[in-house]
Symmetry: C2
Subunit: 127 residues, 2 copies
DNA sequence: GAGTAGTGCAACCATTTGGTTATACGTTAG
DNA sequence: CTAACGTATAACCAAATGGTTGCACTACTC
């Protein structure tokens, strides 16, 4: 997922009405007007929300007769989840590196030749 | 996570600079000015991005002498991931229900009283 | 063919966003 | 104390957002 794609996806998710539309269309596909019934805002407003979701590929529109059926796109949703998982992985890697450092350090002063400061990534401790 | 919290978190994530700040501060905590060096925009602009991230609780600021140290908050990040996971769970539930329906339906017209749509979950496939 | 339901789209509006520059404040180093 | 660094905040601006109303088009229904 490119940076601009991620921009679009997270922007689309940053609105409770749009998140609700995603939830509803995950459960079952629906026409725009049937979606619009659920909210107090105007039909045009809901239509705009669907357009935003479609632009981000979180949702797909499909014509059926006179109706436009909205269907959630699991693929995009999954990619967004994966991106956040990658963020969490960065943290886990860091913790792992710190643990490795803590495991080496106690002996570090006594072993000048062994383990030549390999994984020493400046080690910012926190908490 | 409340709806307004989710609004704030996803809005904060909907900008590539801010996502980059989250990545950097996940790796190690940094002062605002050291973050600002990495981007072409002004210091004040970066500062604003940090404020947005802080408002969403994706990041925490902590004074250290004259510097303000920015640290990523894994907890909020994880809650966002969980929210998206819940979305995916909605889809999986739906697929499961459809599979159960397909397993019962062929006999449905012949069995009005027996097998009252119970939990027949063989249902392995998705995508 | 006429009416109606569902949609698409444009124009408009207030507010927010993401950026700028400039200025003032607090803290550390000399 | 003064200078320099890091930060905070304000004023300003163009563009985007989230909503509205109004109007036109398409496709069913009668």
């Amino acid at each position: 997922m490119s940076e601009t794609d991620a921009d679009a996806v997270f922007h689309a998710l940053a609105d409770s009405t749009r998140r609700d539309i995603v939830r509803r269309t995950l459960r079952r596909e629906q026409s725009i007007s049937s979606l619009a019934e659920r909210y107090t805002m105007s039909f045009a407003a809901v239509q705009k929300h669907v357009t935003v979701l479609e632009r981000s590929a979180l949702v797909v529109k499909q014509r059926r007769g006179k109706e436009q059926i909205v269907r959630a796109n699991l693929d995009t949703l999954h990619r967004a989840t994966q991106l956040l998982d990658q963020f969490e992985a960065i943290w886990r890697d860091r913790v792992q590196r710190m643990d490795a450092l803590l495991a080496d350090e106690p002996v570090a002063s006594a072993t000048p030749s062994a383990t030549p400061t390999k994984g020493t990534t400046d080690a910012g401790h926190q908490h």
